[in-house]
Amino acid sequence: MLHRFAKFVAGCTVLLVLAGSLVTSTGSGLSVPDWPTSYGWNMFTFPPSKWVGGILYEHGHRLIASSVGFLTIILALWLWMSDPRRWMKWLGVSALGAVIAQGVLGGLTVMFFLPAPISTAHAGLAEIFFCITVAIALFTSPRWIQGYGGRILDDSRLRRLATATTTIIYCQILVGATMRHTGAGLAIPDFPLMFGHWWPTHWDAKIAIHFTHRVGALLVTIAVLATATAVFARTSISELRRPAGLLVALVVVQVSLGAFTVLTRRDVWINSLHVVCGALVLTTSLVLTLRTWRGRFADGHVRLQPDGTTT
């Protein structure tokens, strides 16, 4: 039951990431100028008849974020009271801390008129929070608790490769967030060429950020292909092969969405789905990475009951 609830929270977080990306893609970040109130109303009593234009996105994002925050409180309490693993209790607390900090960052960025460093930190912490919820869902799963039947190899090379890939993906997301919040998304207006050439013909700060994101996409693709190749070459167990295959598929989609974001001059939905897909690439890689580390996790005297719960 806890595992199902953790999966539900992670699913809601995907929706929250989509809502947040729509706020930026539609330029609605300041359509509600006050925080935590909304045009002077309590956030939860702000009349739906006033959710017009950009307010629909910004206020909707705040409400979804509040709901996810509430769900995270329940998740943290549930973990604290029922999970026997001490580190899992603290992981629940860290999820709660992250979602609170995330809310504060969201408020600060509104009050200070969307400064790029705060907005980028808000985007970066969103990914960390999403990673924590996915990790909790994974750690509470019966298969994880059973140790996948001891079938996962203790392969240090694969562990290092998967860990490096996840780190590279997160760095790439941070560069992407910087690009988004500094208005550099179309600093290089063509794709796959750059100003009609294979290398930018001129430079400024925004072009450099955009260029770094494109180079990052190349690095992520190479890292993901290397990890997936290593997984398929070294093991036949589905718990590693499935996320590896999914990761490759998501990277293909993600690169395509990135290209179409430029080609469509930042179409709102394509741009937003690019952000969501980036988060899914990160968490899929995280799941793969954590599974390669499963052998190194202490069991903490967890016993799985026939109904799937832990004691």
């Binding site: 330029g27 609605s28 300041l30 100028p33 045009y39 002077g40 109303w41 017009v52 234009g53 008129f113």
Partner: protein
């Protein structure tokens, strides 16, 4: 005892210096930089005028269409197809051009502005779209629409502000403290709403109407750089030398961008 007195003296001086420094800083921040304060008044007996017209050469690019379906109130108030106000050209004359004295004025003292300037959110548009205001002059921001707006100013020299006006008839006052040409306004609720204000430390500015005409009245004799600013076409300058009681003409012609004339 003597050493103690010396230390007390040093502390007292430091404390006094801090109070003066802090107090001075606050005044600097709060006082509008009105410009020309303390200088001589313009002699009306020798003052002259600069009149002119702003033309547009070529076919003006089509203004972007606006989709107001994000807000039913805006849809209801605008039943005909709407476009942005970017290029308002009639008979080859360009409206919404801010014309002002960029350079050449000495240190004069000017009469305070007559009253507040108003920007009205009506029909999900800003009225006026381009206007001027004096440093320290009151700007009244009014919401005449039965829907909510936020007015978000994005200055570079003045303080940024973003004010919500959720109720029809709301009025908010704002004062700019520093000269700045131009300060953009936008509504983040209705992405098509934008306006521009020129904040001036002198009274010599005007905005062209549908006939493209402008007039800068009561200028003291001198040689001036006059600039014409348009939100999309950019800026043009002209140098005008004005003698005592003279009236001079200044004309500006903005050309259509290459893509629009093709």
């Amino acid at each position: 005892m003597r050493a103690r007195s010396v230390w007390m003296g040093i502390l007292s001086v430091a404390l006094a210096a801090s109070v003066v420094a802090c107090g001075g800083k606050k005044d600097d921040l709060d006082a509008p930089d009105a410009g020309g304060a303390g200088g001589a008044k313009v002699d009306a007996a020798t003052a002259g005028d600069i009149n002119g017209v702003v033309s547009f050469d070529g076919v003006a690019p089509k203004n972007e269409p606006i989709k107001m379906n994000a807000d039913p109130v805006c849809m209801k108030e605008n039943t005909t197809p709407q476009t942005q106000e970017t290029y308002e050209v009639a008979d080859g004359k360009l409206a919404n051009v801010f014309v002002y004295v960029k350079d050449g004025l000495g240190s004069y003292a000017y009469d305070p502005p007559a009253g507040p300037v108003e920007i009205n959110q009506m029909g999900c548009r800003y009225h006026p779209h381009v206007f001027g205001i004096r440093v320290g002059q009151e700007l009244d921001i009014v919401n005449s629409d039965p829907t909510l707006h936020n007015i978000h100013a994005l200055p570079k020299g003045n303080a940024e502000f973003n004010t919500g006006q959720p109720i029809q008839g709301m009025k908010t006052m704002h004062v700019f403290n520093t000269k700045e040409v131009m300060v953009p306004f936008k509504c983040d609720v209705h992405g098509w709403m934008n306006a521009f204000v020129g904040v001036m430390d002198n009274p010599y500015f005007a905005v062209t109407g549908a006939d493209g005409k402008f007039s800068l009245k009561g200028l003291p004799p001198g040689t001036y750089t006059i600039e014409a600013w348009h939100e999309k076409a950019g800026t043009q300058t002209a140098t005008v030398t004005l003698g005592a009681k003279e009236t001079k003409d200044a004309t500006f012609t903005f050309k259509a961008p290459a893509a629009a004339t093709d």
